[in-house]
Symmetry: C2
Subunit: 329 residues, 2 copies
DNA sequence: CAATATGCGCGAAACGTTTCGCTTGCGTAA
DNA sequence: TTACGCAAGCGAAACGTTTCGCGCATATTG
């Protein structure tokens, strides 16, 4: 029914091969160029991508695998990646594995079966072996698996630097709410916290290090725990968007004034922190740069350029200073 | 390189046709079933979707076209739709047209060229003719274009009911911040506002009806305008997530107490409204139901069932009552 | 002017499926 | 016993491209 390359050939009196050449940017006489262009216009010819894929073994589609689509950090990254991939001619198929390790690997297999050309994945439990077994270019995002290309943020320094600043301002009882230590980001953020204390030769009160999931419930629950402590921590640092939301809810419920009663450092959340009682100092990951770096690297790999493999891009966070850090003593 | 149906045929001694039958659930002797299953296992055979698509003219892919991926309302809808489509065997390709009418139509053409099997679109300026010309099942979401299948919320009553309640409680100067009237949702929400006043035979102060885009800037700007008025409105109703965020920012900047100084009704925003000074009463659209209804309808159309076309599903909003509506006089 | 290079176009095979129409062989009813 | 129906399997065509190798004509060079 739809017009094919054959119709265009017939219409112009040229061969199928020549039309294909035209479509793919080969050398065609100016005269014929014109006629083919017209024919395509008149017949409303559209390339059949299934047929092309069958021949070329390329689908010009990239799979994005995320732990969740409900976390703004991930959905925003998608929003930034989409036009970038599009500019390279790729469409993107988005999948979420709903924070479920079993679905994580099954969705990867699913993407593989779709024979997409590349994958951007935020891994939780999947291993390097499982990923390389896919035989598809993969670039990891946000979380690192040794031996594979990845684009992550400098989590250690993100937390280290803000904790250090708190220490310099006299804070000693600094609470921190982290994600599960099996996830590299949480592990690294914890490291940042510990190093800051080590740098200043200060002891760490382990009960101030709260660990849970990267979700609102954890933020709420662990913030309540911190607020139940005596003496109260003088500052609390959190480590994800959802934890920020949950923690602020808890602070609100306890009618706590930020930063008067307790200094609070949010993470990955621009909007809430702006409209809360007082805008809150916040660690921001470089979404745009992550998207750019991921796209660039993946496109390079999909083009067969494996120079520098495996590559680890570590990008700097920024600290949105809405409130001067309060001074203790 | 990859093993094909031919390899499986060779391995089992059966014909290609029989293997295909097996794969697609046809009648195959129990004996052969077993052998084929084994062969597929051993050879690690995977269906080549490009080849299948070429024959069947189906891609088992659905395109989702949104005005923006940065608005939680839209990205959350995607999050809900994805597993539903997956359960029917479809993947989803997500596109944003960045609120640009030109990109809106070009992305539609792009999706058409991809020869996907169906489209879920949130339209802004595209017409019914342009959509039907695509010759692809389309289900519209959130915004309605007459003559086409769509799933929308009952915007008129959403606003009508909350404004009515405000009126009953004595409010007369009720500000409202709306999106562009060319978008059906904004038009309908305005209608709801006007009807509530008409129901009670009350005059409308047109200057209280603020119109802009569905974005944060509009929310901020128009809220400031409202707050500059004398006398101050006693209540403000907004009409989108982003407008809510912008308006709350403005209220915060002016150090306004909600609901003491002014009663505020948010829209489509659960998190911020919970953590702001006091949790704010909010209109919530039924994301889950929208996703279900859209998926169900589109799948039905893709299966060729055009009964009841064009279908218009209108779903009810809910009002999250965080604060009792303040009484005036 | 002959020899060679170059640009352009063509025919045909191949990619991996699905599906149509046919054959075969078996069980069953008349 | 014959005829028939039905289940199961098969061969081959077709889907719409890309691409390889070849041939022709024109331009270039010594």
């Amino acid at each position: 029914m739809a017009t094919t390359i054959k119709d265009v050939a017939q219409y112009t009196g040229l061969s199928i091969a020549t039309i294909s050449k035209y479509i793919n940017g080969g050398n065609v006489l100016e005269d014929n160029r014109k006629r083919i262009g017209e024919a395509i216009e008149v017949l409303d010819y559209k390339v059949n991508y299934a047929a092309r894929s069958l021949k070329t073994n390329k689908t010009m589609t990239v799979g994005i695998l995320l732990p969740s689509l409900f976390t703004p950090f991930f959905s925003l990254i998608c929003a930034y990646i989409e036009p970038l991939l599009k500019s390279h001619g790729y469409s993107m198929i988005v999948c979420s594995y709903h924070d479920d390790p079993i679905e994580e690997i099954s969705k990867l297999k699913f993407l593989q079966a779709l024979s997409i050309d590349g994958i951007v994945a935020v891994p939780t439990t999947v291993t390097a072996d499982e990923l390389t077994a896919l035989k598809i270019p993969v670039v990891l995002m946000d979380r690192n698996v040794p031996g594979l290309d990845s684009v992550v943020t400098d989590n250690i320094n993100a937390v280290h630097d803000v904790v250090e600043e708190l220490i310099i301002h006299g804070h000693r009882r600094i609470g921190i709410i982290l994600g599960p230590p099996t996830v590299t980001t949480a592990y690294e953020r914890k490291l940042g916290y510990e190093r800051a204390f080590a740098d200043y030769n200060l002891p760490i009160d382990e009960s101030l290090i709260r660990i849970g999931e990267y979700d609102i419930a954890t933020g709420y629950r662990e913030m309540i725990e911190l607020l139940n402590m005596k003496p109260l921590p003088t500052a609390v640092v959190v480590s994800s968007h959802d934890i920020t939301v949950g923690a602020i809810m808890a602070a609100y419920e306890r009618k706590l004034k930020i930063p008067d009663d307790i200094y609070f450092v949010g993470y990955d959340e621009e909007q809430i922190t702006k409209v809360f009682n007082a805008p809150v100092t916040t660690v921001l990951q470089p979404l745009v740069e992550i998207a750019q770096s991921v796209t660039e690297l993946l496109v390079k790999r999909m083009n067969g350029d494996y120079s520098g493999y495996p590559q680890l891009n570590r990008l700097k966070t920024t600290l949105l200073r809405h409130q001067p850090i309060s001074k203790i003593e």
